[in-house]
Structure formats: C-alpha cells, structure tokens
C-alpha cells in the first residue's frame, strides 16, 4: 500500500522518470486504477504492460513478435506464448493478478482476446518488417513504435504517414522508389 502511494506520482509520468535512472535495472511502476485511466492509447481487453514485460523483465521484442525479423508481418504472440510463463507467474499486486487471470480464463475457454490494433497502415502500403530490422538492427522497433520498453500502454507515437516514411528514407539514403511500398 505504502509502496503504491510512494510510486503513484512516478506512475503518471513514469516514462521520463524511469528512463532517467538508467543505471539501476528498470522498475516498472505499479499503477492504481486512477492512474491507468490517464494513459494514452486504446485500452486493450487485457491490460498488457510492455513496460513490465519488455522493460522490467527485459523480454526481447522478438520473443513474442516472433516473425518481425523474418517476415513482412511482425506477428502477435499466440495465447500459448503468454501461457508459457503465466502458467506459473500469477503476479503480485492484485491489479496484475486480475489481468493475468483474464489470460488464463481466455486459455481455458479457448477464446483468444481481441486486441485493438494500434499501428495500422492503409491497404495499399507494404511495410516489410524484416528488411527494416535487417537494416537497423533488432532494437530498431523503437524508431517507429516509440520507447515501448518504458511505455505502460501502447499508443501510436509516429504518424506513419508517407512523408514520415520518406523523410526517414532520405535520412538513411535509401530508395524512394514508389513501387517499393506501393503495389
């Protein structure tokens, strides 16, 4: 309880506070219901926290988004992947336990959660993830998806508009040929 109170202010602007203290291992804030309502981005059916998984527990992105480095689509983890850990890990704070319970229920009912899509491109755009990761490295995710490791709830950080893509292509001096993305 005390802990929660102590951390509450951090939680609200957790990102900045944490990325500052890079020396010590990142501690994702514990949030109360009030704080979570303030967060940017859509509220997913299960309150999945990248800052805990990717930041605190330092699970590599590719562990869940398994195909990002080999395919055009990054892939989202199957429920099986979640259960791989959450068979055992039940979470300490009640808020966490509640969310993890949802995962287990979903697994029991064979009914995967319907995640709300955050990063979507129009149908006439091709974005081969693997080529970008090949070129920019496995940590390149942040260039488009933002500092996911320290983000509690995912929201779209870059415009994903054409000009945004093109500027980056110009910066990195790679092709601007239309038919690379549009066909």
């Amino acid at each position: 309880m005390v802990l929660i109170l102590a951390l509450a202010p951090v939680a609200v602007n957790g990102q900045q506070a944490q990325s500052a203290s890079s020396s010590s291992r990142y501690q994702a804030p514990v949030l109360s219901a009030g704080d979570t309502s303030k967060l940017k981005g859509p509220r997913q059916p299960i309150f999945f926290r990248h800052d805990i998984h990717a930041g605190q527990d330092q699970i590599p992105c590719m562990y869940c988004h398994y195909s990002a480095s080999v395919s055009s689509e990054p892939g989202i983890p199957s429920l099986q992947t979640c259960m791989g850990c959450h068979q055992l890990i039940g979470g300490t704070p009640p808020s966490h336990q509640a969310e993890i319970k949802k995962v287990r229920d979903a697994w029991r009912e064979r009914k995967p959660p319907e995640w709300i899509r955050v990063h979507a491109l129009p149908g006439f755009v091709r974005f081969p993830h693997m080529r970008h990761i090949k070129a920019l490295g496995t940590n390149a995710c942040v260039t488009c998806h933002g500092d996911v490791q320290h983000t509690t709830q995912i929201s779209q950080v870059s415009t994903l508009r054409m000009g945004w893509c093109v500027r980056c292509h110009i910066k990195n001096n790679v092709t601007r040929d239309c038919s690379v993305c549009h066909y």
Partner: protein, 993 residues
C-alpha cells in the same frame, strides 16, 4: 475491407490477415475502421504471418490428377500452382486447375446438410440427424437396389465406396460425361486390350490428331500440352526441329488451332483417312512395318487414296503426302479422340488410327500400353442408360450421387427417372441440378479441405491432403460412409491404412515423402501389344460419302467449363474461349457460306432442332468449321448451380440422343434442323480484328527460313529502327539515359524482362486465369464485358493463319500484356506520376496515387491498361467481384483496386519485391529463376520466361538475343521489355491476313 473478411471462419487468424488485400477505398473517403487483431490460440509451427507456405496436393478439377502446390497465407489458400514433382503436369497447371480455388471459396457452396421437406423445399438439418436418417434409409432400402454414382474415381475413396456397396448389397457406378468408350472399344478391336495407353507427345516427330483435343480437354491436357510444345516448338538446336502437327476434324478446336495443317475431313471419315494413309505406307513400303502387319493388307486394300478421297472430301494427293510425311518422320504419332471418338462409328475410327500407329511402329515407343490411364475405367454410357431404365422401372430404392452432375449432362430421361427413385442422396458441395433433385444433401468437403488420393496413371498415385480449415459446416463423404458402414476412425485413417499395405515397413518415411512430393511417382513397365486376331475382320464402313440431308450438329466440350462443372466459377466464365473468344454464354459455330445461305449474322439466334431436343444459340460466324457442320459447346444452360451458372444460355446436351452407340458410348454428333428465330444478341467477345493486318503484332516464319537463321541475325530489327536512323536513335537514347541517371536511378539496376515464344504458346489461356488469381483482378460479369470492360491484364490474341485461299490453317496466339516499355508512352502523360518508370525498368503503376485521368491508356499503343469503372470490391455492390467467401482468395500482397483507378500488369512486382526481400535476408543477390511470374509459372507449354535483361547469364537475356526475337510495334521506339519469338510454321509460305 480488412474487417469485412470474417476471420473467425478460417483458422483463428492474425488480424493482419488480408490487410494486404485491403481495398484502396480505405484511402478514399471516410475514416479507417478500427481493426481487431485476433491472435492464434496455438501458433502453427509451419505458419509465419506475412509469409506464404506451400502444401502439395492433387487437383481434382478433372480426372487427369495433376499435382498442385497450394499457396497458403494466414490460413487462406490464395493461389494454386503446379507441383514440379508431379510427372503428370511437371509443375504446370491449366485454367481449370487454377480456378479450383473459386470452387473452394465459392459463394454458392452448400454450407450445411439439407433435407427435403413436405412442400419440396430444403430444410437445414444437423449432421447427426442427417446421418441417422440416412442410416435408416440404407437399412430399409437394402435389397431394393442401392446405387452409388461417382465421378471418375480411381482412388481409395472409390475403393471405400465399393467396399461399402458390397456391404449393403448395392453397386457403384462411375460417370464421366465425355467418356472414352470408343477408345477402349477401338483398342480392343485393334490390339485386344481395352486399356488406354499413355501417349508420349514429347518425343513425337510428326503428329496427327484425328479429332483429339489433347490440348484442351482430352485425357490429360496439361501433360499432353507440355509434351506437345516440346515436340512442336521450334528449337534451332534440335536435329528434327519442330514436329509438324496435322489436325483432322470438322471443326478447329484449341488443339486444331495449333496445327500446321488442318484437314477438315467430312465427319466420320477420319478413320478412312487413317486407313488410306496406312495403305499408302504399306503399299509403298515407307516404313519398316512389323511383321504381323501383313495381315492388314487384305483389310487396307480397298482403302487406296483414290478410292476414299471423295468420301473424305480431300484430294488423293494430300493423303499420299500426309502418309509420306508421317512415315518418313521416323516418329509419327497419331491420336484419335474428341469428336472422332464420339461418332457412331468411333470405335472403328480409333481402331483405324491404332493401325496407322502400328504400321509405322509407334505402338510401344510413343503409344505406351502398360502405363495405362485410369480415366477410361468409368462406366460406359450404355451402363448409364441401363441405370436410367432400372430407375424408371423403380428398381433403384436408394441412389447416392457424388462428384457428378448427371441431371445436367445425361438425357432428359434421367431426370424423369430420378423422380422414380425411392430416396436420393447427394454429396455435392454445390446446389447443382442433380443435388436440387435429391432428398438429402450431405455437402462434401472441397478437395482442398480433405484427404484423398487418385491413380491417374499406372504407377502414379497422387496424394491429396487438406490445406485449409473447412470453410463451411461440411464433412468428407469418406467419413460419412465410414460412419454409415459402422467402421471406426476417419477417412484419413482409412486412407493411411490402405497406403500402409503398400509399404508396411518404414511407412512413416514413405508417407512423409508422399505428403512432401504430393504423391508416389513410379513408372509402369511398357507392355508390348500385337495386332488382335480379329483385326482383319473389322468392317470399317462404307467408302462413299453419306448423303447429308440435315445439318450435322457437333456438341463439343467447352475448354474451360468442360461439361459444365466450371460454370460456377467466374474466372472460367469470364475467360474467353480460346477459339471463339466468347465468354459468359454459349454459341453455335457457323461457316460463312452457310451463314450467307441462311442470311444470318453473328449474334443472330439459331434454333437447332434435333429429334431429341431443341435449343437456340447465338451464331458465331467463322471459317474454323466445315460448311456442312454446326458446332455447339457444352458447359452453359444450367438451371441451378449458383449465381454464376444459373439460367445462362442453353444446354447443348439436350440436343443429344439417349441411344447408346454400338460400342456403348454416346454420340455427340446429331443431325438437326437450324432455323433463324429472328432474335439477336450482342455476343460477349473480346475479339478485335481476327486478322493481324501486318501491324507487326505477331511475326511468323516459314520453317525453312527459321532454320536458315544463324545466331546474331536479326530479321526483324529493321522494324525497330531503319538502318539510316539507328545511329542517331542510339545516340539520342544514350543522351536521354545520362540525363535520367539521377536519384534512385543511379548505378547498376536490373531490367526485368520477359521472353514469350509464340512457337510454344498454344493459346490455352492458363496464364490469363493465373493472372486473375495472383493479382486480385476483378471479374466484371456478362453485362460489363459486353461493353468491353473486362479487366484481364493478360489477353490472348488469336490471329488466323491462312492458306493461299484464305482458309484458316491454324492460328498464332500472342499473349498481350504490359510491355514494360523502356520509353513508355503512358508515363509522361500522367499528371501525378502514378504511371512512372521504376529504377528496375518496370512501368510502375501506383494505384493509390492514380486520379484516373485515363490519359495513360489513351497513349498506350498496346492497349493493356484497364480502368476500374466501378468499385468491384464494394460489399453488396451491383458488380461485386469477390462476394463472401470468395474474398478469401484475394492475394494479401496485392492491393485491391478502388473505383476510378487505372490498373495493369507489373510483371508480378509483388513477387519481385518478395524475392528481393528474401535475397536481402540471406545477404545475397537475386538469382536468375528466383522470380517466377504467375503466367510463367502456370504456362503448360513453358512459353514464358522471366528474368533480368541486364544479367548476361540469365535465360531471358539469351532468348532476347534469339534471331526469332522481335518487339511488338517496335517502330514506335517504345523499347519494350518483352521479346516475342516469332511463330514458326511448317509450311514455308505463311500468311496471316
């Protein structure tokens, strides 16, 4: 569009599914819908989202048993491609095979079991209820006669049916509308064996087809076409380059169109011609004839060319010439089939042709008994007729129908007989005429959804595995039968059990290989055959021409729709018939002289009245049919069978008689009266000018000329640039190029190109359907196609080759698609750079940038750009091209175009980019052969080669330098990336209009 694809239906699939197939309209007006991502419950280990996986299985669109590889994306089958491991089709596939997908995702599939209720309509019923009901029926009808009617099933499924029928005391019959009774009868007459040999077209040096349409519908079209193109193609390297091909028949079919010479023999006299040729060969000792052939002398004596010429309708000299050419070629192959095998005297014709093969010693070398084709083993038409009689007599208490639609293709008597059957059960996946007449419908899985196998040819067992989750609440008929027969387990177990008997030891490996390869491919030993004893006693019929009272009407199988089973697939409906170029309806072929006599024009309706039925068809006036013959295709005229087939044109089967021929077959020629009804319709044709008018669209070389060409020669170059200008043009091009060397265009780039060998292209149009499948091309339907709005990026132009009298001898078929010009006229006129030149030499077309001024198309001399007049992807729109669940076969890698944008071929740019991405991942350059365009992949005659023209080692580079190479309309200095290789014809004075 993404959310309109109901993901729940196929696997629990990633939300990203179909994002690629999202319509361009999502960039139109209105906000994007919020998408939902549904993750897999359990990640299938062989599925990587965004990456295609291929599964080997077997095509069941016809009985040829071609191997296919199914391209799966996120659990959806998005493309069928030939399986290179299969010895039948060697990695190639025909239009009908390609369209198999539209059978799988057909919007008119029966979604769940149906049972007929009191007032004649169908009610839904759950599977268990249905099976119980059926079990009861089986019990009570035992002894009352149980018949299980299947299609051509040489398979484990067939075996299962046989077993079960044995168990319940019923009998199984198999039915193929275009049966092969005559071939078997003829073989029995000549060689004393009823089996169908396999034919080695590839090694033939001279080909004569007596009516056999081996390129479109006969036996195993893809295999034969592949062999044919090997034999018939011109290859300067080969000693006996280009086997001459002569087609004998009253009507020029797709096969006939590819002949170097067309002998329009009077119907029924094909055999006489064969005998006459044999007679010449024997009497003039043109070949080393087998010893026992001497027994033929007595038979053949009467058939001297002079004696029969008049009956056949050609002059004796021609017969002698043909005989000489045939024998001297030292590898002559004669085949009889198609029409010739469907006359009343077809058996004799086949026997005669057998004799012709025999006397030149081709039997055993090119005609291989032993490696027998299974398709012949269906029941004869006579059997079916007797079945009809039994049914009428009420001797059939329970009738099962699977994989056949007899109510459409059998005589009317069968429909009436159906009513007399106690209980009728259909396993059809579609509401066809037969199913509609049944009491219980237990929809079967589609072939791509279930286990199975087939034995198309001795030694070959093609395995069929489920590649997608069932789309609807259907069940494999195998499972149902097993349940009914009280056996445990599924059909899969049954199948594996059967296979295990073949290889008890190390079965798992055996099975795994079969799955991976798509089957077990062995070679059956060739069996030597001798002339039958009775051969000398065969009476080959009269030598005088029968007095023709009425017009002879020929009913021939439609190359795409075949007996009508293709009619519910829009791709096949919209595919112009290779000969007439007519789509969406049937027609009657009339010779101009006849037309003039009756005063009819193309589009006028003719009422054909035979003594068995009457139907009316719009006339198509053409020289490709004999004046005393009318020809009508089957395939249309369905009264059921879904939105695409229903109430379209007329059913040609209804003209035919119910009487079986002497050899137990069915006669597809009938004499009928033709009367002008006065009605007229605008026929739906893509045909422009049937004459090429010397525009340089197609080039034709005489054989001698072609042989004389030596490497480095360029007979067509002058059309590119006249000598005096070439320097100036080269200099100019160089300067322009320098000025364009900027930005992305700097440095070494590939230049993608295509080489199309017109000597190989048969015009079968498999490439067209493959293109539809690969590129999400919309089918626009009859009304719009009539207004010239078909979207086919690739079209086949058929220009007649004529003899000195202007009579067609064959045709040159030229696939016309975007030429990806170096100096493209379409590009500079686009105000928004939607049409532009990519650094790798394509004419890029950026759909989402296009505003639709259509200037590019006006300025395209090849007219290969197509405009979206409507939103063909609009849900429930008037012209919706992909109604649920058809939309599931949309290729996620290709944008679905919105209304108001121009679209065209881009050499399957999605495949190019895919290969480049893969190569980049593997830190290598793209290799020649990495990229295969959809048209190239499917082309049964291997006429299309894709590659990088800047890569000196690539195959396409070599072909581009071929002396036969030319560019279409090169005089316009468009610098096309497609090199056509001139068609070579056997006669040395070709002319094409």
């Amino acid at each position: 569009m993404t959310d309109s694809l109901d993901r729940r239906r196929f696997l629990k699939v990633l939300g990203v599914t179909g994002a690629g197939a999202a319509a361009l309209s999502s960039c139109g007006i209105g906000p994007e819908p919020t998408e939902r991502l549904i993750p897999y419950l359990i990640q299938p280990e062989d599925q990587i989202p965004g990456t295609a996986t291929y599964y080997a299985t077997t095509c069941r669109e016809c009985a040829a048993g071609c191997g296919v590889r199914v391209r799966i994306r996120e659990g959806r089958a998005v493309k069928l491609e030939g399986n290179p491991d299969s010895p039948i089709n060697r990695g190639r596939l025909c239009a009908r095979g390609q369209a198999g997908l539209q059978g799988l995702y057909n919007p008119d599939r029966i979604a769940h079991p149906l049972v007929r209720n009191a007032n004649g309509t169908f009610d839904d019923i759950d599977w268990d209820g249905a099976i119980q009901r059926l079990a009861a029926k089986v019990r009570e009808s035992q002894g009352k006669g149980i018949v299980f009617l299947t299609g051509a099933e040489q398979s484990t499924f067939g075996d299962l049916v046989d077993e079960w029928m044995k168990q319940v005391g019923g009998r199984r019959m198999s039915y193929e509308p275009f049966g092969f009774e005559a071939l078997r009868a003829g073989n029995r007459m000549a060689f004393g064996t009823a089996s169908l040999p396999s034919y080695d077209f590839g090694n033939a040096k001279y080909l004569i087809s007596f009516g056999a349409d081996f390129l479109d519908t006969w036996l195993s079209p893809v295999e034969f076409q592949n062999g044919f193109s090997q034999a018939h193609a011109f290859d300067a390297g080969r000693p006996a380059s280009m086997a001459k091909f002569v087609f004998v028949g009253p009507r020029m079919s797709l096969t006939g169109m590819n002949a170097d010479e067309w002998i329009a023999a009077r119907p029924g006299t094909e055999g006489t011609l064969a005998l006459a040729m044999a007679q010449v060969i024997l009497s003039q000792h043109l070949a080393r004839v087998p010893a026992d052939a001497s027994r033929l002398v007595s038979v053949l004596g009467a058939y001297s060319p002079s004696a029969v010429a008049q009956a056949i309708g050609i002059d004796a000299g021609t017969i002698v010439r043909l005989a000489r050419e045939f024998a001297r070629s030292g590898g002559g192959l004669a085949v009889a089939g198609g029409m010739a095998a469907q006359y009343p005297n077809a058996a004799e014709i086949v026997a005669a042709v057998n004799i012709l093969n025999y006397v030149v010693g081709s039997v055993g070398s090119l005609v291989k008994f032993g490696a027998d084709l299974a398709i012949g083993s269906t029941n004869t038409f006579a059997d079916l007729t007797s079945l009809t009689t039994d049914m009428t007599a009420g001797h059939v208490g329970l009738l099962f129908i699977h994989g056949a639609n007899p109510a459409h293709s059998l005589p009317g008597a069968f429909q009436q007989a159906l009513a007399k059957v106690g209980y009728k059960v259909s396993f059809s996946s579609y509401m066809d005429e037969t199913a509609a007449a049944c009491d219980l419908i237990l929809p079967d899985h589609h072939a791509l959804e279930q286990w199975g196998d087939s034995r198309p040819r001795a030694g070959v067992i093609a395995l069929q595995q489920p590649v997608v989750q069932p789309v609807f609440d259907t069940r494999p008929t195998g499972d149902v039968i097993l349940k009914l027969s009280g056996k445990s387990g599924t059909f899969q177990d049954y199948l594996q059990g059967k296979w295990r008997t073949r290889r008890p030891k190390g079965f798992d490996q055996y099975w795994f290989d079969a799955l991976a390869k798509g089957g077990i491919y062995g070679d059956a030993p060739t069996r030597a055959v001798r002339l039958a004893q009775g051969v000398s006693k065969i009476s080959f019929g009269p030598l005088v021409a029968p007095a023709v009272q009425d017009q002879q009407v020929i009913v021939f199988p439609h190359p795409a729709l075949h007996d009508g089973r293709g009619a519910n697939k829009p791709w096949l409906q919209e595919l112009p018939d290779p000969v007439s170029k007519i789509a969406w309806h049937s027609w009657v072929e009339v010779h101009p002289d006849t037309a003039a006599k009756w005063g009819i024009a193309t589009g006028d309706f003719l009422l054909l009245k035979s003594s068995f039925g009457a139907q009316k068809f719009p006339a198509w006036i053409t020289r490709s049919v004999r004046p005393d013959v009318l020809a009508v295709p089957t395939g249309q005229g369905h009264t059921a069978y879904g939105r695409y087939a229903k109430d379209r044109s007329a059913n040609a089967f209804e003209l035919l008689g119910a009487q079986a021929t002497t050899y137990g077959g069915r006669s597809f020629i009938v004499s009928a009266s033709a009367t002008k009804t006065g009605e007229h319709r605008k026929i739906v044709t893509t045909e422009g000018s049937p004459r090429e008018r010397g525009r340089g669209t197609v080039e034709v070389l005489g054989l001698a000329r072609a042989k004389a060409l030596h490497p480095g020669e360029a007979p067509f170059h002058h059309e590119e640039t006249p000598e005096y200008a070439s320097d100036a043009v080269a200099w100019w091009a160089e300067r322009q190029h320098e000025k364009a060397e900027i930005g992305n265009y700097k440095g070494e780039q590939p230049r993608w190109g295509l080489a199309i060998d017109l000597s190989k292209c048969t015009g079968c149009a498999a490439c067209v359907t493959a293109c539809y499948a690969e590129n999400n091309i919309a089918t626009v339907g009859e009304e719009l196609m009539q207004r010239g709005r078909e979207m086919s990026w690739m079209r086949l132009e058929r220009y007649w080759l004529t003899d000195e009298h202007g009579e067609p001898q064959g045709a040159v078929n030229s696939p016309m698609l975007c030429q990806q010009c170096g100096n493209a006229p379409c590009e500079p006129v686009c105000p928004v750079y939607a049409a532009y030149h990519t650094p790798d030499g394509l004419n890029g077309q950026v759909y989402n940038r296009c505003v639709g001024t259509r200037y590019c198309s006006n300025n395209c001399p090849y007219k290969v750009r197509y405009f979206n007049w409507y939103n063909y992807a609009e849900r429930g729109g008037q012209y919706e091209a992909f109604p649920e669940p058809l939309s599931m076969l949309l290729n996620p890698d290709v944008t679905v175009r919105e209304k108001g944008v121009m679209e065209k071929c881009t050499f399957c740019v999605q495949r190019i980019r895919g290969a480049q991405n893969q190569a980049r991942l593997e830190n290598r350059a793209v290799r020649d052969g990495d990229i295969v365009t959809a048209c190239q992949q499917t082309c049964p005659s291997e006429a299309i080669i894709f590659g990088d023209l800047n890569d000196k080692r690539s195959q396409v580079y070599e072909l581009a330098g071929n002396p036969r190479g030319y560019h279409v309309l090169a005089g316009l200095n468009t610098k096309p990336a497609i090199t056509y290789l001139a068609r070579v014809v056997a006669q040395d004075t070709p002319s094409h209009g």
